[in-house]
Symmetry: none
Subunit: 217 residues, 4 copies
């Protein structure tokens, strides 16, 4: 009966600061971030649906029910992970697009940033990459699609400016170009190993080479 007590008084103890990592205040949220990190990794590697709430709790060393002291639901954990990720990402790329002088420098900046992001928060990226079926079919995750479109706008802005300024070839469709770059880069999260011998910087350089000059000799 009334299975969903929507937005109960229990409320969300969600932190508002988007900073995340850094040594924030003395608050009680340390545990929260820790649990979220565990969840992100498991969601990313096993898949959201395949990860049980008990998997996460086991890994954290508590009982599954205890997770609900920190989060309203399993879905709420995913939401929070993705919201943080998309928010940070959008902020960063807007910064880059604004700061760089030429469209070409901006594009390179965006690409380097993408690889850094994959290196820094591989699980969030993988989640975003692998759970597209879930993310696009459930209205609860509409914010992800919206943020994606915002990201696309920034990239398209750079690409179009570059085509206009003569930095980039004008015979390529910017929309297709964006998808081409985006898919090639974000997909690396599936095989890139942050602790492997291939540095993200190296991969970025090689990818930039290919993107700049093409494959043909």
């Amino acid at each position: 009966m009334a299975s969903k007590n929507e937005a109960t008084a229990r409320g969300s103890r969600r932190r508002t600061d988007a900073a995340g990592g850094a040594g924030a205040g003395g608050g009680g949220s340390a545990r929260r971030a820790q649990l979220l990190a565990i969840a992100a990794e498991m969601f990313a590697t096993r898949g959201y649906t395949q990860t049980t709430v008990r998997d996460i709790a086991d890994e954290a060393g508590i009982l599954s029910g205890s997770l609900y002291h920190h989060f309203d639901s399993k879905e709420a954990m995913l939401t929070e992970i993705l919201r943080d990720f998309m928010g940070n990402l959008l902020g960063e790329i807007r910064e880059i697009a604004k700061a760089e002088e030429s469209p070409r420098a901006a594009l390179d900046g965006l690409i380097y940033n993408s690889f850094e992001t994959i290196h820094r928060v591989p699980f969030a990226v993988a989640l975003y990459q692998n759970e597209s079926a879930l993310l696009t079919s459930t209205p609860e995750f509409a914010f992800v699609t919206k943020a994606s479109l915002d990201v696309e706008k920034v990239w398209l802005g750079v690409l179009k400016a570059g085509a206009g300024a003569g930095d980039f070839r004008a015979d390529l469709d910017p929309g297709l170009t964006y998808r081409f770059i985006r898919d090639a880069i974000w997909s690396t999260v599936r095989w890139y190993n942050p602790r492997g011998r291939l540095q993200h910087r190296t991969v970025a350089d090689q990818y930039l080479e290919m993107l700049h000059g093409g494959l043909l000799a």
Copy 2:
């Protein structure tokens, strides 16, 4: 998944012929293919885990238990879909690599073939693309990983031959190049609409343009 899988009394009715065509056997094959097509589409769009056996049965107009007359398990359906897909794919690209004269023509052929495949069997491709977590973690699906490596071998052969022959730039790492191309192309399955106005041929041409000459003017 499938707690007791091996050696069921019922045995495996799995067909080995990838042809799938005309009314050869006892007559049950048509229904079988039909059910498999339904399953593939649902697996691809909702995700394998999120798709229930009853979803498939509902769509087929039968009860979920009745599906077990045709297949041993839900997993068996996925296995069959992927086995058919990987088998066909491998056959085709080997053909292409062998038939084409130059490495460059071979690479173009492989790329065109990829887009055609996405156009023809988008659900199988999406499955292969989206269920990586499942496919790599479950030993039952090791054959997929193996076939992927076989595919990679063919592509790498072409790329290396092309670098040796002076078709392609020699300063690019063939492994990274392969992944770059592969990821960019196969990812299109997520947004490519077979019935949309963008023809697969058009996308292929644009992608080839970018790959050949790069982005810079």
Copy 3:
């Protein structure tokens, strides 16, 4: 995610015939009615919330999950019990109010019918009587409140007609009179024992005596 798949294809196998008891067709719904009877008794005696789905299944000799082959949810069971009950009740009292000649005869008929109902389906009556907190607070059960109002209309019609015709005292408020009678009668379900020595007819006669002539000598 989408925890409530509202009105799924699974649908309700609910029978439309309101007859209930009688030896209906050969259909497969026999089990359904049986399970509903078990549920009604337990809901009534232990309370809806205190009755677990496993209590019901245990009593029926199946596993709790198997109940979901017959009903969509625990709540759906309660809904069906109450819907049947209220539907039948309303049909009967409308019949009586229409058929009887005088308001006084109609009132007596309604009262006798109430006691018969308590005798026949004590659990449904008890449910209706005891779960008022649940029934009035949850929108899913608004139909019960609505049916109650319809019942009230019939009784009020009789009472007002009787006051106008001189059958009943005119100095009493019909609304209060209705509640007075209704509450006194329906409450008997809490202590009336269908298999006890006090026959429902006897109780009805005594109550009618009190209602007709009052307590004073």
Copy 4:
């Protein structure tokens, strides 16, 4: 309910004095009464089982765990509410039965007192009225049943005395008469609104009219 109840180290702080009044003790009593009032209202309106300890705590502006500083358990709260209520009730009606001169005056006094009680402590009455399943099935609440029997004895004494004295009709069974009156009156708690336009005195007068003289003109 309360899996390990007896012999908690903490001991029972249960107060025995039913007075509840002025700031006598250490000062913690005010909060205690306040919490009990909140609990009573919620138990009455939502039902005991449906009310969670956190519901009560939320309403009181504290965390659920903090409630256990004041009460041993959720059940202890209900026990205390009911014990106070039944104790007071019994005291009052014994007073009335003793004080009034004639059985008829005594009966009227009891009835007026009932309506006053409903007006004064509607939640306790509702609890007593609605939680019969719980109250009769759990041995912890046997004291309620016992007090009810004591109440019944007082009423029956008055009714029998009245029948003997010729105040009341002698052809009515006193037991049934008692239940009739009791159920009709206490049930009003379900629809009576202390702050509505219908005063409890008015309802009492109308009910007395019906009870005294009956419905027939």
